[in-house]
């Protein structure tokens, strides 16, 4: 066995081990934390790319911890989707880590530097683990790791509102995890196994068999509710706007950009890996139910976002809408639709990551959070605002940005269902993007076309380079992957096909 065959565990271990080293080194010298995190996240990113390459060449990788074969040993299973998620997670975390160096120095007290990076790495490790695991219980454990570290990160500024937001998040998050734990227990009672591949084989024989099928359905319901809370699917989103707007902006970027998508990943795993696509699509139409929920999420999330005055809160509500786009794609359970949903995980991560980092840069430079106060920033911070505009256009789905590609795929997926509900869904997608245009264009209007309150504010005062670079990379990604969508699609498309079994 070469080292390359250990890649599945490497991508999880790099951030987790860094999380243990960081406090030790940080205790000696706080300035080491940031370079350490950047280096290790870069390694995790490279490892994820290598992992994706080997998945693309060799197919799904099943890695047995310590050489014990499942169902007795612990298995890591990396399919196209898992590898894809690893890339997205490590990429956005890397951007947030680069951004953090200057941002955290101002935003957080010095004593919190080491805990901040430790928690960030712990959270990343949890997300990576949840993406590659092949075991339902391990999924639960990784979810606990990432959830608990994210509760702490939301509250890390120590402001009262942040602590309150974190507490709200913690309460709902705890309900979510306990629901999934109950679901796991039910499935274990039924089958005696927790390995996903094994579960799917054993459950197949139980579909529609008297009493046990009720147990099965209850388990499914628990999973749906539990992971919907994690993914912030409407109407279980109520924790998100507070948590995402009160966290430091670098953390908001990670939370909105990828953490809620890991919830979506868990939903996908439950629906398509544990239960069979035929079961959740046809026998019990769970997918159509979540599609309807997602369509409502798109509209309601956007409407809430329109009524916000705080920039970060608006971005948070926009995430509620866009998780709706992703879940809608999953629920459509058609080739184009699911591809679009999976693709939107990446596209939304770039755009929303960029937007939150820009919002952080605005707060860093001016302390402003209110949308109406942003007048004149177009002259003050031209590069940051240009990146903001590009990312906002990607959220609206204006070509040639990446958001357009996912919107188009989702639209194709909705029509592919060939039913009248497909027409409703494409209507929701298009209406959702028009509503998105309303609140993002309002910000852009303020930035570029409104008279600033104080003339002296419009002196050129650009974001420091360390923070600007990740912002520009993400904005550039929104354009590049909009013109060359085949690059992410080379993973997203086989991922969707494998999940749906087509």
């Amino acid at each position: 066995m070469t080292w390359a065959s250990h890649l599945p565990i490497i991508v999880v271990l790099i951030p987790l081990l860094t999380a243990y080293i960081t406090p030790m080194l940080g205790w000696m010298d706080k300035r080491i934390c940031n370079p350490l995190v950047i280096v290790s996240t870069s390694f995790a990113f490279i490892a994820s790319l290598l992992l994706a390459r080997s998945v693309l060449t060799r197919g799904v990788i099943s890695y047995h911890m310590g050489g014990f074969a499942p169902p007795f040993g612990i298995a890591l299973v990396v399919d196209y989707f898992g590898a894809y998620m690893c890339i997205v997670i490590s990429f956005l975390t890397l951007m947030a880590a680069i951004y953090s160096r200057e941002y955290i120095a101002k935003e957080l007290h010095e004593s919190k530097t080491a805990p901040y990076y430790t928690l960030l790495m712990l959270m990343t490790g949890g997300m990576m683990g949840a993406s590659v695991t092949g075991d339902l219980f391990n999924m639960f454990v990784f979810f606990e790791i990432l959830s608990i570290s994210s509760y702490a990160l939301v509250a890390i500024t120590g402001k009262k509102v942040a602590i309150l937001a974190s507490y709200k998040y913690l309460l709902l998050g705890a309900i979510g995890t306990s629901f999934t734990l109950v679901g796991i227990a039910y499935l274990y009672i039924l089958t005696g196994t927790l390995n996903m591949a094994d579960l799917s084989v054993r459950l197949a024989s139980l579909y529609g068999v008297g009493r046990s099928s009720w147990t099965l359905l209850v388990a499914l319901a628990f999973f749906m509710v539990g992971y919907s809370i994690k993914a912030a699917l409407f109407p279980l989103h109520t924790w998100l706007p507070d948590a995402h707007s009160m966290a430091p902006s670098s953390i908001s970027a990670v939370l909105s950009g990828i953490l809620i998508k890991v919830g979506a990943l868990a939903l996908i795993r439950v629906l398509f890996n544990i239960f069979q696509p035929e079961f959740v699509v046809e026998t019990i139409p769970v997918t159509s139910m979540i599609s309807w929920m997602a369509a409502v999420a798109i509209i309601v999330g956007s409407l809430f976002a329109i009524s916000q005055v705080d920039l970060k809160r608006m971005l948070a509500y926009s995430s509620v809408a866009h998780i709706g786009f992703i879940i809608l794609g999953v629920g459509l359970a058609t080739g184009y639709g699911t591809t679009g949903g999976i693709l939107h995980i990446f596209n939304h991560a770039m755009a929303k990551g960029c937007l939150f980092l820009c919002a952080g840069a605005i707060i860093y430079k001016t302390g402003l959070r209110n949308i109406d106060d942003l007048a004149g920033l177009g002259n003050k911070m031209p590069f940051t605002m240009a990146a903001f505009t590009i990312a906002a256009l990607s959220m609206i789905g204006i070509p040639p940005t990446a958001g357009f590609i996912s919107k188009f795929y989702l639209g194709l997926g909705a029509l592919e269902t060939g039913t009248w509900s497909g027409w409703v869904f494409i209507g929701a997608i298009l209406l959702g993007s028009l509503l998105t245009a309303i609140f993002y264009m309002r910000v852009i209007n303020n930035i570029y076309f409104k008279e600033p309150l104080h003339r002296e504010d419009v002196q050129r005062d650009e974001t420091p380079l360390g923070m600007l670079i990740p912002i520009l990379i993400l904005a550039g990604g929104c354009v590049i992957f909009g013109i060359f969508p085949r690059i992410p699609l080379s993973l997203a498309e086989p991922a969707a096909k494998l999940l749906l079994g087509i």
């Binding site: 184009y336 256009l393 204006i398 070509p399 040639p400 357009f404 590609i405 919107k407 188009f408 795929y409 639209g411 194709l412 909705a414 029509l415 592919e416 494409i426 298009l430 209406l431 993007s433 028009l434 245009a437 264009m441 209007n445 570029y448 076309f449 409104k450 008279e451 013109i483 060359f484 969508p485 085949r486």
Partner: protein, 490 residues
């Protein structure tokens, strides 16, 4: 014969690069910034011209950038019709650039860098629309055009301008959403979006579905084409600086909508299918209503630019009418009118801008006697206005003649009557300003005013002259009429 060549992408990328250079240069070096605009416009136009001979002899240029969905690429495929619109946009960009420099500097406008940046981006997307090889590529540039024209509408940053900008976005983005829906539907039905000479939708989907899809496309593109009742963003958008109203809101943006409709009719549905579905008569009726009501609204305007905007609304539907009547003459007349209307309307807008710069007057009632003080400008205005009415020997007559002929060929003489009624209405709103300009004495501060600088006057006279040439010798090669006939193969 199809040639794989980078020329189409060059024609699109040159203005985009120009936009970036403008942004980089900024306000610090205004002459260099304006140089980029002029250089790129000339260069872009030369690239387009270099494609002329091959296209004219019936060939095509193709270029592919990247695949978007299976079977559909971001790619270009240049035929005579696309070539025609690309040339119109890129040539008029040169003229308008010269005019812009004179206009913006004379009025000491603010945010000029943003203005030139967005202008270049608009032209790039207009050329992109023209050269697009499939519906998806067309849509991509259509949306870029929407977004890059929006800052120009809002340029003044007054509350009226901000409202106009919002209205513009609400209309055009909704239209874009409909086009996207239609496009997704088309792809689901056929698995392709590439334009074909005789359409590719025939034999797919039920008749009901195809009819509904057609309505969706017309509504979607109709917003930019300013079909009544989807037109009301256009008069509001007249708060933009005059060069924007001239090139974008009389030529590039609105014709992008027209272009989309013609592409859908000819290259997506195919003429035969549209005729079989019985969709032409309703379309012709909608166009006729727009022609008549646009002119009636124009009658009621005192603001010169708003009057011209309503005239644009009315004139654009000539083109739609030509496409809907679907006889060889009406089609070539309609397609030629894209260019004819462009040259004449741009002349009129340039005149309005020159008057604004020299006298600060926007309303017709304040312009009495202006012909005595700005004779050359008003001669240009007269040529443009007479062309709009359809008087020979100006090119408007040629298109109207072919359209009228086409209506008779198609067996619907009623539409010839519509054209005649429109002519009367056009006369009713264009002749009084001309009369007042030349036959009344200037009063008030008009007495002191004089002719504008050559930066403004040159473009006016050039466009007026071209309108005359196209009207007097329409049979020489490369005139709009000849290109239209090449495209249509008649």
């Amino acid at each position: 014969m199809e040639i794989y060549s980078i020329r189409p992408i060059l024609a699109v990328v040159i203005p985009f690069i120009c936009a970036l250079l403008i942004a980089v240069t900024g306000e610090k070096n205004r002459d260099l910034r304006e140089f980029w605009t002029l250089a790129a416009s000339v260069l872009g136009c030369m690239v387009v011209i270099s494609m002329f001979p091959h296209i004219y002899s019936g060939g095509k240029y193709i270029f592919t950038v990247a695949q978007i969905v299976p079977g559909v690429e971001l790619g270009f495929r240049v035929d005579a019709f696309g070539m025609f619109f690309a040339f119109l946009s890129s040539f008029l960009w040169i003229v308008t650039s010269v005019y812009s420099i004179g206009y913006m500097r004379a009025l000491k406008e603010h945010a000029q860098t943003r203005y030139y940046f967005c202008f270049a981006a608009c032209i790039a997307s207009a050329v992109g629309i023209a050269l697009a090889g499939n519906l998806l590529t067309l849509f991509v540039f259509y949306e870029i055009l929407t977004m890059s024209a929006f800052p120009l509408v809002m340029h003044e940053e007054t509350s009226a301008a901000l409202d106009a900008g919002k209205k513009y976005l609400a209309y055009t983005l909704s239209g874009g959403a409909l086009v996207l829906f239609g496009m997704a539907m088309t792809y689901t039905l056929t698995g392709t979006l590439t334009f074909a000479s005789h359409g590719f939708l025939a034999g797919h989907g039920s008749e009901q579905l195809l009819k509904m899809l057609f309505v969706i496309f017309i509504l979607g593109f109709g917003v930019k084409a300013a079909i009544i009742p989807l037109h009301s963003w256009l008069p509001s958008a007249m708060v933009a600086p005059t060069p924007v109203s001239a090139l974008l809101h009389a030529v590039a943006v609105v014709n992008a909508g027209i272009f989309g409709i013609v592409r859908v009719v000819t290259n997506v549905y195919g003429i035969e299918l549209v005729a079989d579905l019985g969709l032409l008569l309703p379309l012709a009726i909608v166009a006729s209503i727009t022609i008549i009501f646009g002119s009636i609204f124009a009658l009621a305007q005192d603001n010169l630019k708003r009057m011209l905007a309503y005239s644009t609304v009315s004139q654009l539907s000539y083109i739609i009418l030509g496409a809907a009547l679907l006889s060889p003459s009406s089609l070539s007349g309609g397609v030629a009118h894209i260019a004819h209307q462009g040259f004449m309307k741009i002349t009129l807008f340039f005149c309005a801008g020159a008057i604004l710069v020299q006298t600060g007057k926007k309303n017709l009632s304040e312009m009495h006697g202006i012909g005595h003080r700005m004779p050359l400008t008003m001669i240009g205005f007269t040529i443009g206005a007479l062309g709009m009415i359809g008087a020979p020997p100006i090119c408007g007559f040629i298109s109207k003649w072919y359209l009228g002929l086409g209506a008779l060929e198609a067996g619907h003489p009623i539409f010839t009557a519509v054209l005649m009624a429109s002519t009367l209405l056009n006369t009713a709103y264009f002749i009084p300003p001309i009369y007042n300009a030349f036959f009344k004495e200037p009063e008030g501060d008009l007495i002191e005013s004089r002719e504008a600088s050559w930066w403004l006057l040159g473009p006016i006279l050039l466009c007026a002259l071209i309108s005359l040439i196209f009207g007097m010798v329409p049979m020489i090669p490369y005139t709009p009429l000849q290109l239209a006939r090449t495209f249509l193969g008649v």
